[in-house]
Amino acid sequence: MEVTQVLLNAQSIDGAVRKNAEESLKQFQEQNLPGFLLVLSGELVNEEKPVETRKLAGLILKNALDAKDQQRKVELVQRWLLLDGNAKSQIKAGLLKTLTSPVSDARSTASQVIAKVAGIELPHKQWPELIGSLLSNVHQLPAHAKQATLETLGYLCEEVSPDVIDQDQVNKILTAVVQGMSSSEVNIDVRLAATRALYNALGFAQANFSNDMERDYLMRVVCEATQSPDVRIRQAAFECLVSISSTYYEKLAPYIQDIFNITAKAVREDEEPVALQAVEFWSSICDEEIDILEEYGGDFTGDSNIPCFYFIKQAILALVPMLLETLLKQEEDQDQDEGAWNIAMAGGTCLGLVARTVGDDIVPLVVPFIEENISKPDWRQREAATYAFGSILEGPSPEKLIPLVNVALTFMLTALTKDPNSHVKDTTAWTLGRIFEFLHGSAVDTPIITQANCQQIITVLLQSMKDTPNVAEKACGALYFLAQGYEEVGPSSPLTPFFQEIVQSLLTVTHREDARESRLRTAAYETLNEVVRCSTEETAPLVLQLVPVITMELHNTLEGQNLSSDEKEKQSELQGLLCGCLQVIIQKLGSSESTKYAFMQYADQIMGLFLKVFACRSATVHEEAMLAIGALAYATGPDFAKYMPEFYKYLEMGLQNFEEYQVCAVTVGVVGDICRALEEKIVPYCDGIMTQLLKNLSSNQLHRSVKPPMFSCFGDIALAVGEYFEKYLMWAMSALQSAAELSTHTAGDDELIEYINTLRNGILEAYSGIFQGFKNSPKTQLLIPYAPHILQFLDGIYMEKDMDDVVMKTAIGVLGDLADTLGSHAASLIQQSVSSKDFLNECLSSEDLMIKESAEWAKLAITRAISV
């Protein structure tokens, strides 16, 4: 096969030619993989070949080594590892040779492929000479080859994990990279490649950052690079600083003054991409300090390993003015552009983080800026002042903020109606929303919304909903938080007199011609939902009246036929909003007996509509409709059984859809809702549901976040069907057991530990459900064989000492359930377990009331089991 021609054909504009070429490449690959890869690497290295075929050859080679899909990736890795050794050596030699090619695209492609090969081989202790050979003569190389070598090192650091490369090699890599960055290097491309490589290599430099000399040197080189004449290098250097700020926060003290000077200069003078990174550095420091201070929890004996250096507190006198300056650099239309990101937005965001980090201290620094600018003729100044105010509303204490807010509120309301500039109105409405979000509600002692101003606030907000879409959207947001603040207000809400008017205005907004702009329609429906959710008994009749209105809207979306894909998307989006609205209404009306009864007259009609919404799609189910059905199941109770024959197929479809894992997760939740509604009437559908759940659990493509709820769902089913669960017992227990084995030990970062705890909780909820489901049935003895393992699991997680409170509560409950259901059959096993003693005692003396309650119950059950 003349591969060059085939590769050219594969890029042909003629579809038939292209398809033909792709087909023959695929065939070649399947018939003779080593040969195929060899030919590709041969093409890539060959200087006589056209650049586009060389690039494509490299790309195909790369795709033969890595894939997004996890399972496919594992296969590719296995295939490469099993490949003939000679072929591999030849391919690798070709790749390394390509790094010296005069053709830049060829070099760059080879860099990426080498990194992929390294990503596979280095963890298996293969290709040990790679790093050595890359570095051996890097100094003597011509600039273009040096640049390619550094780029390769960068990609390599991105691909492999730090524990795979020993310190000696790390040192060599860092040395080469840092030399490439230093001012003695004349070639700009080399310096850029080196700076970008350092960004990836920083994760490898733990040891080097612990050594004062080496750290000083690294920091100096990075800081120097931020002064490079080339903007790309400056940007890359600041990105390195951002990465250092989160990875090596605790090492920064000696450099923070210098870094402040550098970033301040960049924020004020440099081009925007660089300035954005400079601001990002401070945002990232705020992230670190907020995390550390949260872990302290106000108590300085906390067990956080990293102390807080209070960099932000020390820098605010200079930092805050710098950030305030950025606020004046707004872009004209940034409010209409959803993807906008500029220095003013970054500055305000950072200011918000600073406020959360330092609290009250920021207020006196920002207030003069607000006072000076808020009434200026230039809209930029008025907007910046408002934005500054809105940004600092989270963090400082209400005592500090409320006096300011009381002064500002009237001003803001006037600005929202009268300011000639839409940008100012937008930010004003957003700031009102922030005021209501953080300073209004039952948790705040002195109310800022009173009988005196409530009417005015609502009138202004409803008025602003007729403004341009972006302003109207922010006004909806403000109303959202206003309603939320009255969530627990008691039998009578200050919003009751305005309820009808608010609902009417929101519905009018949803019908605006331009409601799709600035996500206005979404904001209006979500605000309507919140108003309904936080409403009181007084307005229940009005909520009931909403049912036919929203139902009719949903019915109208089903009218269109032969829709284009764009129209279909719009239809589906609108259906989602309406289903979401019905979900909230059903929840609300279903929560009290009197309203539930009145609502039930609509249940059949609504369910019919949901089924039609499902039918609008062929392969996937509508997530929002699914959620709403969960709410409907609670409201209807056992009567939901009549909908099951028709609904079941969509339920199954949702469970099967684990590519869209959120849909799957929502559906799993709905299965639980339905179990509780139907109880034993779910039996006819259990075979299908359990089969699908077990199938999902055994798939390695399932998103891990769906696993815990799936296990909980076993418990829901067992609780609903009782001893009928016997049918699935062996399967379910074996799935639980293998998951339990995996989740006994945690090793990894906080995120993993958090996940493992969620997983444990799901497993434990399943056990609880199964035990309680079998209780009082003549078949409890079926559970006896599983008791030893379950107790072992409880002991195991207890010994690990890393479970959270939720797991602790569920786990001790399971111990009780086991004793309760198995009784004397498990007495001796229970007595042998650590859980029944140390763990139980620990829980009995817990300060968490929920844990204590579960523990007391467990103690009781154990006493009974042992005494029988």
Binding site: Y199, E239, P273, E280, T522, T527, R676, P709, S824, R864
Partner: protein, 519 residues
């Protein structure tokens, strides 16, 4: 790649749209509602102990007292129920039958009510003789059913409680007969199944009293829960360890046909119980194994394995298949002939099981394959060229120990020719070389390090093959690369003489003084 890997840091702006947060919150709220309802349901169940009386909201403290009281109450009620039954049994007046049935029903209800059935109280009050009396011939069905039900629940209790049923066994067996109504026969089978499950001693009693033939006849019909219960009871009854019952069962007229028919056609639940019967038949009785093999039992087993996804069914079916292959050399040599359709079918379903996520299936499938791989050269080549080998290789490096061991048997068997006589087995060089090239050696060396003698021996044997058989004398080098020398040297002073000699012999022979001199 270059562009997206360096994509600039970009955080969410502080000024964001309310829609994003709100929808997320709504979703979380739905999940929270579900979670709260689950918790309150579990709480209610925990507090509610006897029956579903809807008194869920009692405080825990009070509940403790109540429960003890209720436990006591239950025992008390049971004693009076037995007393009531006693008076009903002696009563001969008008409505005597209804009185007996009512008393039985009350006792049955009490025995089914709680997770701690008050069996002891019932026995102490003298329930058994009364129940036996209620089982007497000519009693109405309803009475028989209730009495057998009471006995079923008593038999599910502790071992000594089960033994209390001894006086009732002859009548329970008698009611299995054709003259009984189906529900009565089924209930009696259930009680007897519980008794048989208790242990060898009670099984012997049941067999000597002739429980087997009537139970066997109950599995002859095509379907129904009675057939399923009877099959379950039978599987308990023939559990052995004495193989006599298994042999006797297969000889009962029509049983063989019924087994094959159920395996072929019945629903999965019935097929599962029948498959367990086949498991014990083939595990215990050579005679039964022979009969099953000759009657083509392999075919329906393979079909079930190919079509079902029910783990409950797959496990007994796979084990039956394994027993048939391992238990009778005839199976491999004359039924599973390479080239025959059934042989390919077997390999295919075994591959399916190897791919499964369930460890029992993987382990048992490997075990079956190892038996087939012990057959002729053609059998070895058949497996060798099948889809099984890559799966086995992966399992050898990743699976839990017990599976790896079975896998090692298969791979080991693939590399040696069938035994011809004395001395070391002949190699199948081609297979050995290719399996080693595909990385299997490290798995075997791992086994050498294992504390399990059998696995270690297997590892050493394979190492010997590599040392002896790899071309160009590459063997020693390969073994050394995998740290094999170190693994074998651990046996220098091992307590097992056989392994010690084997390991030391290999080290001396292949890594003696001359080793490495030429390099």
């Amino acid at each position: 790649m270059a562009d997206d890997s360096l994509a600039s840091h970009r955080r969410d702006p502080i000024k964001s749209s309310v829609g994003n947060v709100a929808a997320q919150r709504r979703r979380q709220n739905a999940a929270t509602v579900g979670k709260e309802r689950r918790e309150s349901l579990v709480r209610a169940k925990r507090l509610c102990r006897v029956g579903a009386t809807g008194e869920g909201d009692v405080l825990v403290e009070e509940n403790h007292m109540m429960t003890d009281e209720e436990g006591f109450l239950l025992e008390d009620q049971t004693s009076s129920a037995v007393k009531e039954l006693k008076s009903a049994v002696v009563y001969q007046g008008k409505g005597a039958m209804q009185k007996r049935v009512n008393a039985l029903r009350e006792l049955r209800r009490l025995l089914s009510k709680s997770e701690f059935p008050p069996v002891e109280a019932a026995l102490k009050a003298g329930a058994i003789p009364l129940l036996v009396q209620c089982l007497s011939f000519g009693s109405p069905d309803e009475q028989l059913l209730e009495a057998a039900w009471c006995l079923t629940n008593i038999a599910a209790g502790k071992p000594e409680e089960t033994k209390a049923l001894l006086p009732a066994l002859p009548l329970l067996i008698a009611h299995l007969g054709e003259k009984s109504s189906l529900p009565v026969a089924e209930q009696c089978a259930w009680a007897l199944g519980n008794v048989a499950g208790e242990g060898e001693e009670l099984r012997k009693v049941l067999l000597s009293q002739g429980a087997l033939p009537p139970l066997a006849r109950m599995v002859l019909p095509n379907k129904g829960s009675t057939v399923r219960t009877a099959a379950w009871a039978l599987s308990n009854l023939i559990k052995g360890p004495d193989p006599k019952a298994a042999t006797e069962l297969i000889k009962v007229d029509g049983v063989l046909d019924a087994i094959l028919r159920h395996l072929r056609k019945s629903d999965e639940e019935l097929a599962t119980e029948v498959a367990w019967v086949v498991v014990y038949l083939s595990a215990l009785s050579n005679f039964a194994t022979g009969v099953l093999v000759k009657s083509d039992a392999l075919q329906p087993l393979v079909e079930r394995l190919a079509t079902s996804n029910s783990l409950q069914l797959l496990i007994p079916v796979l084990r039956s298949l394994g027993n048939l292959v391992a238990g009778d050399s005839h199976t491999t040599s004359t039924v599973l002939i390479p080239g025959h359709e059934i042989t390919d079918g077997v390999i295919k379903v075994l591959v399916k099981c190897l791919k499964s996520d369930h460890r029992v299936l993987k382990k048992e499938a490997s075990w079956v394959l190892s038996n087939i791989a012990a057959g002729s050269i053609e059998h070895k080549q058949l497996i060798y060229s099948s889809e099984a080998v890559p799966l086995l290789l992966r399992l050898l490096s990743t699976a839990p120990f017990d599976i790896r061991k079975e896998v090692a048997y298969v791979l080991g068997n693939l590399c040696v020719a069938p035994a011809t006589g004395e001395g070391k087995p002949d190699l199948i060089k081609e297979n050995l070389v290719s399996l080693v090239q595909r990385g299997c050696l490290s798995g075997f060396i791992d086994l050498v390090r294992s504390a399990d003698i059998e696995a270690a021996r297997l590892g050493l044997q394979f190492t010997e093959l590599v040392l002896r058989g790899m071309p160009n004398g590459d063997g020693p080098k390969l073994v050394e690369q995998e740290d094999g020398i170190d693994a074998m040297e651990r046996y220098q002073f091992h307590e097992n003489e056989d392994l010690r000699n084997m390991a030391n012999g290999l080290v001396d022979k292949y890594f003696g003084e001359d080793y490495g001199v030429n390099e």
